[in-house]
């Protein structure tokens, strides 16, 4: 069970990062992928399955924007459900990381 919790936690963090990026503004997949790859070392290819899953779950939706260079870009934006999910996941993360930091701080 511990392993399952760990796995869920990490998976949740990736999703949380995408939700956070999108909460600051709509973005297209390449942009999200390169920012996450730089930030937390996430493989760029994994963003697409993740975005599809989030779309299936109704957390994000897409729209096309004409691009000056090349074909139109597919932008992702948070749905209302995505916004709710972001704020609840964010506070869960804050509580959790504060608790972990507490324990780490006390164990020097």
């Amino acid at each position: 069970m511990v392993e399952a919790v760990q796995v869920q936690l990490k998976k949740g963090v990736l999703e949380l990062c995408v939700l956070a990026l999108l909460s600051r503004g709509d973005a297209y997949a390449y942009d999200i992928a390169s920012r996450l790859a730089k930030g937390i070392g996430m493989g760029e290819g994994t963003i697409y399955p993740l975005m599809r899953r989030m779309q299936t779950d109704g957390l994000v939706e897409t729209y096309l924007v004409e691009s000056t260079s090349g074909p139109p870009r597919k932008y992702y934006k948070l749905t209302d459900r995505g916004c709710e999910s972001f704020s609840s996941q964010k506070s869960e993360w804050a509580d959790f990381s504060a608790a972990v930091n507490d324990i780490l701080g006390g164990a020097q």
């Binding site: 390449y30 070392g41 996430m42 994994t46 697409y48 599809r52």
Partner: protein
């Protein structure tokens, strides 16, 4: 690997999914290559950063399989979802087989028992009075009805249990979906 090689492998690996889904997915990766090249990277660099097409394919197929199971609850969708999850390597088959097989076996046995009860019950109900002698006709017909309802009951309960069983597997598989792995092992060796 070049853009074309990556996209070809992707398209070949996704064969069998709905055409619209394949086109959608391939278009995503095509756009990714176009953006990358515009940003000054080479096709080989972009392909390397994307990771193995096979892993990407497994994840996308699993996602499509799980989505189908959520939309239509039937045995073929269930088989698809379970295979997709197993294909991810998310569930250690060797560890889980001793648990999964007996459960699946019991569920299958119950379904067969349900079908048998239904069949025998129907025969008793319809034809029992003609070939069973020495018992009141009403008792034979009631016995037939009893068997039919027992069969229905077992069938319903075991179907519900089967759905719960597949849902459980899917839930477990989703926990382990390999979206995580690249985060843990960013430097995957690319052929």
């Amino acid at each position: 690997m070049t853009r074309q090689a990556f996209l070809d492998r992707l398209r070949a690996g996704l064969r069998g999914l709905p055409t619209s889904a394949i086109n959608d997915i391939v278009a995503d990766y095509q756009a990714h290559f176009a953006e990358g090249v515009a940003a000054g990277r080479t096709e080989a660099e972009i392909a390397a950063a994307l990771g193995e097409p096979d892993r990407v394919i497994r994840e996308l197929r699993a996602e499509a399989g799980l989505k189908r199971w959520e939309e239509e609850r039937n045995p073929s969708a269930a088989a698809n979802a379970v295979l997709a999850v197993l294909g991810l390597g998310a569930i250690d088959v060797l560890v889980l087989l001793p648990i999964l097989l007996p459960i699946a076996g019991v569920l299958f046995g119950l379904l067969v028992a349900a079908a048998a009860c239904l069949g025998v019950g129907a025969v008793f109900f319809a034809a029992g009075p003609f070939f069973v002698h020495g018992a009141p006709v009403a008792a034979i017909i009631l016995a037939g009805l009893g068997l039919i309802s027992t069969g229905t009951c077992i069938g319903c309960l075991s179907s519900a249990a089967s759905i719960a069983f597949v849902n459980g597997l899917v839930w477990y598989g989703r926990l382990h979906i390999t979206i995580l792995k690249p985060a843990l092992q960013p430097k995957e060796i690319v052929a």
